[in-house]
């Protein structure tokens, strides 16, 4: 089945609320400021209420925050942006995916974890000059193609994919291509493009299993590493947590030693607490 046909079948998959897509657009503009974020949020009562709830939770430091402008002032534009985005994509990413043997919210938690760890990765990659909010967004949506492919994954396809993973040691991506005709990276990128997300995010999702490393690592390399870390540190859900092929040069291209990777794993493990808080709130 072609990617176009798969996406056509996914007609019921709704893009996140317009607040979220507008917010992602805002990101492309470096000059975007608090007042624009505030304006957007104030027109989405449900999202605003959830944000305030989260900001006041013990996990976020137990602030006493009564309004959105206070929230932006106290926690900063970046934090609020991440919360809005996380909540905005929650409903799309959290259903149970039988085709991937994901219980409800398993993909959601994996996605959140990948999004959060883009930050410690970028802290050590200043020379890449990547926008942390764009990286967070790409981390959050990198596996959205699995929601699309899940719809056509019947029992027979699932059995074939499982066989290819356990007997032939195929990567999930390769098995998807062989059995369905497309893979979750390509399908996800196609879907996000149709929703109007910026090209840099679409590109990173399309290449999150085949990262672009030269002339210098692109956003896809950060998402590739974030995906590996989230698979590694998260509870191994579904059938294919480890059926991923790391790019052989991703460490050297990003100048990472084994110790750096272990520190990133530790950061990923510790990010689990936030994942649970956000997943419960959405």
């Amino acid at each position: 089945m072609s990617t176009e046909e798969l996406i056509a079948k996914a007609g019921h998959l709704k893009p996140p609320a317009s607040t979220v897509t507008r917010l992602i657009e805002l990101l492309s503009n470096i000059e975007s400021c608090n007042s624009e974020l505030l304006f957007l949020l104030e027109h989405d009562a449900i999202l605003s209420a959830k944000i305030l709830g989260l900001c006041n939770s013990a996990a976020m430091g137990g602030h006493c925050i009564e309004s959105l402008d206070q929230a932006i002032l106290r926690l900063g534009y970046q934090s609020i942006y991440k919360l809005v985005l996380s909540l905005g994509f929650g409903s799309t990413l959290s259903p149970k995916l039988d085709g991937y043997q994901f219980h409800a919210s398993a993909l959601w938690q994996h996605s959140l974890l990948a999004a959060i760890v883009t930050s410690p990765i970028l802290e050590r990659q200043a020379s890449l000059d990547l926008n942390p909010s764009i990286a967070y967004t790409a981390g959050l949506v990198h596996d959205i193609g699995k929601v699309v492919l899940n719809q056509v994954m019947d029992e027979a396809k699932l059995v074939r994919i499982r066989e290819m993973l356990s007997r032939d040691h195929c990567a999930l991506l390769e098995a998807e291509r062989a059995v369905i005709g497309s893979d979750h990276a390509e399908t996800g990128a196609y879907l996000l493009r149709s929703w109007g997300l910026p090209g840099s995010i679409v590109e990173a999702v399309a290449h999150h299993h085949s990262p672009v490393l030269s002339p210098k690592p692109q956003l896809s390399a950060v998402i590739h590493l974030a995906d590996l870390l989230a698979h590694n540190a998260g509870p191994a859900p579904g059938m294919a947590s480890y059926s991923v092929r790391p790019h052989p040069e991703v460490y050297s291209a990003m100048h990472l030693t084994s110790q750096d990777v272990q520190r990133l794993i530790l950061a990923t493990i510790e990010a689990q607490t936030f994942v649970e808080v956000i997943a419960t709130a959405s």
């Binding site: 043997q101 499982r162 993973l165 356990s166 040691h169 990567a171 590996l228 698979h231 590694n232 540190a233 509870p235 191994a236 859900p237 059938m239 947590s241 480890y242 059926s243 991923v244 092929r245 790391p246 052989p248 991703v250 460490y251 084994s258 110790q259 990777v261 272990q262 520190r263 794993i265 530790l266 493990i269």
Partner: protein
């Protein structure tokens, strides 16, 4: 005269309470002498699960360590020593000794250390975890009774504290004893 009705068998049950599961979370350790319980750890991916059991006093312990070496974070080594093999493994043994287990009687097994499909072994944390367990055991003169590491699938470990039987569960196969 009415035929004698056959007396019905008296009701009786033979019932035992279901085994209690003591769940060892990621980066945690439990040692116990409750032989009505099982120690369970779910979803070992690249993490490594180590179990020790003294069959004479029926005392056992289980560790779910996530990283090989605590030197990457002194702070975490203190606050969460079971997260790391080098700090968690000695603590596991000491906890079992404290309950009455003796070193020479201990049955030691470990499993986990799954890895990605990674021929170059760049993301080899599973391998480093199992190597760290092997090296610490060897250094202390302990020979493991069973080891099952590697592969690219998560494992759940369950040890019955009344027998010391260790079951490995993987999504692609039936549960089996290790």
């Amino acid at each position: 005269m009415t035929p004698k009705s056959k007396p019905s068998a008296p009701k009786q049950w033979v019932a035992s309470a279901p085994k209690k599961n003591l769940v060892v979370g990621m980066g945690e350790m439990i040692a116990s002498s409750d032989n009505q319980a099982s120690l369970v750890t779910y979803s070992l991916g690249s993490c490594v699960g180590v179990v020790v059991y003294d069959p004479v006093v029926r005392i056992g312990g289980m560790l779910h360590a996530m990283l090989p070496d605590s030197t990457i974070s002194d702070e975490r080594a203190k606050s969460r020593p079971f997260m790391f093999v080098d700090t968690g493994l000695p603590a596991l043994f000491h906890a079992v000794y404290a309950l009455g287990g003796l070193k020479h009687r201990l049955i030691v097994k470990y499993a986990g250390g799954a890895h990605f499909l990674d021929q170059n072994r760049i993301f080899n944390i599973g391998e480093l975890n199992s190597a760290a367990v092997a090296s610490i055991l060897a250094r202390n003169g302990v020979t493991p009774h069973a080891v099952e590491c590697g592969g690219s699938e998560g494992r759940t470990l369950r040890m019955d504290l009344s027998t010391g039987n260790l079951t490995v569960e993987m999504s692609s196969q039936k549960p089996r004893l290790l």
